[in-house]
Symmetry: D2
Subunit: 304 residues, 4 copies
Amino acid sequence: MTDKEVPLRAEDVAGWHRSLSNWERFGPGDALGTLHLVTPEKRRAAAALVRSGRAVGCARPLDTAASPDNLRPALHFMIGTATEGYGGDWLGVAPHGYAVSHIDALCHIFHEGRLYGGHPIDRVTAHGALELGIEALRDGVVSRGVLLDVPRLRGVPWLEPGEAIGPDELEACEAAAGLRVEPGDVLLVRTGRWAARAALGAWDPHERLAGLHARCLPWLHARGVAALGCDGVSDVVPSQVEGVRLPIHSVAIVAMGLHLLDNLDLERLAAACAEEARHAFLLTLAPLVLEGGTGSPLNPIALF
Amino acid sequence: MTDKEVPLRAEDVAGWHRSLSNWERFGPGDALGTLHLVTPEKRRAAAALVRSGRAVGCARPLDTAASPDNLRPALHFMIGTATEGYGGDWLGVAPHGYAVSHIDALCHIFHEGRLYGGHPIDRVTAHGALELGIEALRDGVVSRGVLLDVPRLRGVPWLEPGEAIGPDELEACEAAAGLRVEPGDVLLVRTGRWAARAALGAWDPHERLAGLHARCLPWLHARGVAALGCDGVSDVVPSQVEGVRLPIHSVAIVAMGLHLLDNLDLERLAAACAEEARHAFLLTLAPLVLEGGTGSPLNPIALF
Amino acid sequence: MTDKEVPLRAEDVAGWHRSLSNWERFGPGDALGTLHLVTPEKRRAAAALVRSGRAVGCARPLDTAASPDNLRPALHFMIGTATEGYGGDWLGVAPHGYAVSHIDALCHIFHEGRLYGGHPIDRVTAHGALELGIEALRDGVVSRGVLLDVPRLRGVPWLEPGEAIGPDELEACEAAAGLRVEPGDVLLVRTGRWAARAALGAWDPHERLAGLHARCLPWLHARGVAALGCDGVSDVVPSQVEGVRLPIHSVAIVAMGLHLLDNLDLERLAAACAEEARHAFLLTLAPLVLEGGTGSPLNPIALF
Amino acid sequence: MTDKEVPLRAEDVAGWHRSLSNWERFGPGDALGTLHLVTPEKRRAAAALVRSGRAVGCARPLDTAASPDNLRPALHFMIGTATEGYGGDWLGVAPHGYAVSHIDALCHIFHEGRLYGGHPIDRVTAHGALELGIEALRDGVVSRGVLLDVPRLRGVPWLEPGEAIGPDELEACEAAAGLRVEPGDVLLVRTGRWAARAALGAWDPHERLAGLHARCLPWLHARGVAALGCDGVSDVVPSQVEGVRLPIHSVAIVAMGLHLLDNLDLERLAAACAEEARHAFLLTLAPLVLEGGTGSPLNPIALF
């Protein structure tokens, strides 16, 4: 984090809830938020990026082992085995766990009693969300994906848990990658989290996690980022904003309608970007269609 | 079904297990089967198909209601609601259910004590499959998708449950679509199942389901289909082959290493193909990465 | 149902919510309701009933098959089998399903925004009930159990779905059994539901189910029943009270603090009572201790 | 552990598999094992023990928090809350977890390819156990319960993890309690595990757990114990027998047909025994009826 000047306060975040709001931008009843910036033209242009035909997935394997960052492990049970004469199974998953690669639906986060677009929070019931469920993305998201590889910029294998990334560093990554984040892009920011975990063992991400400083919010808005992914949860933890635990989750999802992709595994994508010598690619997100769901496990597929 | 000449027997299917086998084709330890036919060049060419930028998902929403075709309903429970201050949930799903859009891993089906490639079936244990699990597809599948719309060819809203499709009819669909299925394609065959269900109510698909006649197997092999999807389970039910319940599942998965995509929702894709006046598109499959899993729920994304 | 005089109205039920209320009876913060009537003396007296030493369980096996009365089937998956070297499994159950033998916690039912004792309903959150959870019964319930066998009285194998039982018939059963229901008893009422299901197949219990008419409520209160069990859900369905679907659930749980035991299997208990020539016995309920739970699957054990 | 003379070897355990076997004792097809020792007379005599009418449950609350001794936490999700108008929930549990109070079915443990009674282990399939499932106990277990409180004997709050209890110490506990364990008793042995956990935090019970030394096996057989419970898993960990991890599980379940009750919470029972000045009581076990199940969560109810 290089923006150390003046610490942010809750009022700053509250201000962004107003100044960065897209509630009036995409028409009444909007359920897609900044995904509107992914136009058919944008998709066409993204497809035109394909050159080598190399495909890379960005999902961490679903993790059935309890650990400090996986308190609600995935369940994987077999229904059919050698004995039954076929292979069959059953899967249980809490998408928002800190070790699960997933996408947040816009109903995932609340602010002052409201969801994105102003829906009252009691629309999120024990029978599922009645507004802004993940089924809004049943046609998936296809756009240009851009990887900003912060450890590579810094020349380190990973950012230490708790280290923050500011907008200036995002721009330095852009420069190093020879590109500029543009409207409709799905921006992926690598912190090297899973490399750190492989080396150091699991830790509690509620306490420390590398990620973006809240100061990046106006930058994300200005650039027209359509969706934001990270190998952490985008937010740096602690947030460095007193009284606000996850300011990026709060402003991005509730004010901007910007979908977040959490806990992606960007290690192999980073290696592919290095080998392909390019940091932009066709990216496809294919969430499960769960009506009233607050998110979905996700395996983003990059195609170079 | 127009191939009514001589009924097939179990010996014919056994013969195809030998004559259509790809066990020696893709090298030792192969876990991808006919997905090897999706080369980087194939992916590039598929991306070059994108013209309008229209995206269409092919997943049926996960279905939490018990019904004759959904005996193990999906579970969707809320962890967080208005009261808790965030929206969170939990999902349980048996991928191979007859109402779940999913992909079969190559470990899903056995034949004479063997999996694809000859692995003994005891490699599929109550702790998951030790070979050929769905994690082999962690980089997804991106290729040309082709929709063959049989009800459209026949001029009917849907095929009746139990009606079979033969290779001649697949070729008639090709002709009507002005294309030819080629090596590496992901072939999607529409029977209109979900339109039928919407009109008629749910029925037991163990008893009757429209699909491909086993006679299509040599054709699929000859054309080099990389993966086969259907709004049913590809196999017609009953199979019309005495003593073999699902011959396409058996030969395609175990002998050919050809992944099947079952219970897709192809209604909206068919409408899009009609409107776009084309039946080929870029198709992305993004299975969840479940180590040792026998399949995954799936939302295939077509891009025109 | 023999009480056909004047149909009940919602106002009658509302009146019982007041006149049969135990909210002030057992002291502030009460979480046990009429289980207070099961005193140590009552337990001693119940134990003194034991003569033959015959034990009979009253749970229907957990049912993993979807059916019209089992829309959320139990899940039973194996973790360990022959292959793994030990037998292990995993169980998922929705206790309140219509085919699950279970006990209702006092937080299960609401009336006019209140739980038993006046707690506001927002104490039942997506994180569990903060009041009146089933953990209040962690020491179980041990008392005299009494079976009133209505089909036996009527000389029929079972009551037809939808047939009601009035207080006069309960008293006729008492007379036939040569006993009187007394304060602190756990009263079990047999309708023969599972015999009917075995003969007729499953039906939708939301439409028709034999059970007690709401007119029994004052009688249950007067007799001091501590808990009420049935092979249905105690309430007759339809309720014969316009505008109130389950009046016994409503008044018994919310006003009286009377725990209900639903969907018990009383067939073998009835046979044992006939053979032992007695309809009273020592009964033990041992709910699982689930903090914040709204109920528990249950296997009541009768000892003659 | 006071029996420190000669360390046990795997051969000793193998010898007990023969010398303590009950395979021929209770007739062909037996599914109850030593529970046959709980005769109707035994139940009658147990009921006659009731004096004060005090009831105490012995289940630890189901634990939804991941920890080193709870790697597969219970799942508790709400189906109905204030918003839905009723309280409803769903429970998922892996009975054999090290923090779950449960009973082991006789199909839980294998030895040399066999279950109790000689059934081959392939009778335990991914569809459940075809022999010796927990449904054999659908009528519950009612007998005399006896608590042997080892920390009380030693004058310590708890045994240290890994400390062993030998048969001489069991007899010293008997003497202190003024009773003798007799045929058909359900024996409960307290190590103080949960008091230790409350004071020290959770640890990995695969590494260290107080419990009975394998040398107790002949003693359990000689006394005719019908079922054995513990606040650990009965076995001391490590077992002090080279090459055999859980000798008591192995010999008790497979050779003797002796059901084990693991991870009970005996703290409140111990306090009640002290206050009541007696260590024998009526004990009721009411397992869930899960056909093919390898065990059940359990809340044993003691009645003084």
